[in-house]
Amino acid sequence: MSVASIGVPAIASRPAGSALRRTWRRYRHDRMAMTALIAITMVLLAGLLAGVLAPYDPTAVTPDVLAGPSSAHLLGSDDIGRDLLSRVLYGTRFSLLASLVAVAASTAVGSAVGLVSGYLGGRVDTVLMRLTDALLAFPGLLVAIAIVGILGPGVQNAMLGLSIAFAPAFIRLVRGQVLAIREEPFIEAATVSGVGGPTIVRRHIVPNIAGPVIVQALSTMGLALLAEGALSFLGLSVQPPASSLGSLLGRGFAVVNETVRLILVPGLVITICCWSFNAIADGLRESLLAESEA
């Protein structure tokens, strides 16, 4: 085979839309993954529309202290008479947003570092990998807690801490993918055709590693919800009067002798969200695997 006959890379010439459609068709037949997709869509909508759906102001105190579920308070009220449904709706919005920001930041930064490390190789790669390995030696939640501890409690610091905690996984993933792909014939073909480095990364490497990165981002969303919940629970993330699901749970635990309702509802929402993201990630991984084997 001569060099010239390799020509345009085979992968790039395949229409992108059809691969996406095939993946979606496989995904659609995965019952668990579809259930999760519907569940998370509903939770996301509930969070987005919290301002419309919530019957009360989440911080408004009513005379009904620790009231059970009724037509006035569908999920009852908390220990100082605030409507639980409204608080959970706003808390859901807050938790999802905080996790989303943390995961988006770690995906962007981690992927960029992984791309540079894997594509450039050599000494840059060695140094970056040593640092990544060192960071991986610290348990993720501990990294986040330590960073929050040093910078002070608060949502922004919590999100920063979580982004740093999650980034190494993306660096490792992307670097590994890049190392595998840069040995592929179509990259060599593009290089000898005179295509520049940045273009190769953008046109040939990024589209080929996007799938695994999206799967990783989705399963990290599950972890982020748990970690953000833990930080809020410990009082290291969101500060009153704002609240997230984790801080609602923490507050509800203070009156656990009176009622479990205040811990039951926020915990259930976190679990549903986390399970959904895990199931969606699993379903997508399977579908992409089938696509790459086809």
């Binding site: 060695t126 348990p139 501990l142 190392l179 811990i263 915990g267 399970w275």
Partner: protein
């Protein structure tokens, strides 16, 4: 393909050179030795990171230790006592030198030596972590084996649901639910506290049940998933069919032949969970009010106690690194094929 395009570029292709230069140590001992050598730079980076954390703390540790309105002389004396008059790299070297011998300095807030505090609290966290690993290993293996044996049938499906729930349930929620049910509602188990086994073994065990159950769920679910995947694969292989054909019962085939091969990848995942345990102990010790290392770390963070934060971060990372090494060695011992390529 006739032209070896670009094949001389990239780190992968230089590997053969690296191996040629390295002296060849044979066997497991050699692998461990090589791994230990590569650990040294990593541990140095970790120690620098742990030390630098405290440099980022706002405020002056000297004034933090003195209370309100100290005089200039007092501050100067405190700075001298804490070595703050010297530059950071000098302090790092002396800190590391002492840390290697187990001397982590004196807590800024309590005035207690960190080392004594660690000794007093180690037993609490070690009890929790030890039983958690044990419970998770037993439970995870059992569930994974049952799933693999009944693969794609009803028991497998039911347990799959339980496993995916176990991976999604927040441990702080689980802990509060367990307290609400077993401590508050039923009153079977204590909700808070810790009793040393030297005082009363029964009380010690009772206080450990809820924290251990809380922390074991996630690693057990993870392990079950690994064991199931590994076992389903192994059970389809020729040598298992051969063992069955020779008339070995299912217990012997699974226990002796299949599980050994399926356990190796599971072990790696499990080793990674040591870090999870150390972070999880922060949450569990907070909820169950136990005087362990996690509670110590959290208190240090809320009080911004630099000495303790440095020590805990360093110790945690060193433990994680060493456990990973141990897991790799065990992995190689279980699976000799890895030794050749690593």
């Amino acid at each position: 393909m006739s032209v070896p395009l670009l094949s001389s570029r990239g780190p992968l292709d230089r590997r053969h050179l690296l191996f040629r230069r390295m002296p060849r140590f044979q066997g497991l001992g050699g692998v461990v030795l090589r791994r230990l050598v590569t650990l040294v730079p990593m541990l140095l980076i970790i120690s620098i990171a742990a030390f630098s954390l405290a440099l980022l703390l706002p405020g002056d540790p000297a004034t933090a230790a003195l209370g309100p309105n100290p005089t200039a002389e007092q501050i100067a004396a405190a700075r001298k006592a804490l070595d703050l008059d010297k530059p950071a790299p000098v302090r790092y070297v002396s800190w590391l030198g002492k840390a290697v011998t187990g001397d982590f300095g004196v807590s800024v807030t309590t005035g207690q030596p960190v080392r004594e505090e660690l000794g007093r609290r180690f037993g609490v966290t070690a009890s929790i972590a030890g039983f958690t690993l044990l419970l998770a290993a037993v439970l995870g293996t059992l569930i994974g084996v049952v799933q693999a044996v009944f693969a794609n049938r009803l028991p497998d499906r039911v347990l799959l649901g339980a496993v995916s729930l176990g991976l999604s349930i927040p441990n702080f929620w689980l802990a509060t639910l367990l307290v609400a049910f077993f401590a508050v509602r039923l009153g079977w188990l204590p909700a808070i506290g810790y009793v040393s086994p030297s005082e009363s073994v029964i009380e010690w065990a009772k206080h450990l049940v809820l924290p251990v159950a809380t922390l074991a769920v996630f690693p057990a679910a993870e392990l079950a998933r690994q064991i199931r995947t590994g076992l389903v694969h192994v059970l389809g292989l020729e040598y298992i069919r051969a063992a069955r054909a020779r008339g070995f019962g299912p217990l012997r085939v699974i226990g002796k032949h299949a599980l050994k091969n399926a356990a190796a990848p599971a072990l790696t995942i499990f080793g990674l969970r040591v870090g999870y345990l150390l972070a999880g102990s922060i949450i569990v010790e907070q909820i169950f009010v136990m005087p362990g290392l996690g509670a110590y770390t959290l208190a240090a963070i809320t009080n911004r106690d630099a000495t303790v934060i440095q020590a805990m971060v360093l110790i945690t990372a060193v433990i994680v690194v060493l456990v990973n090494l141990l897991v790799d060695v065990a992995y190689m011992a279980l699976n000799p094929r890895v030794r050749v390529t690593s």
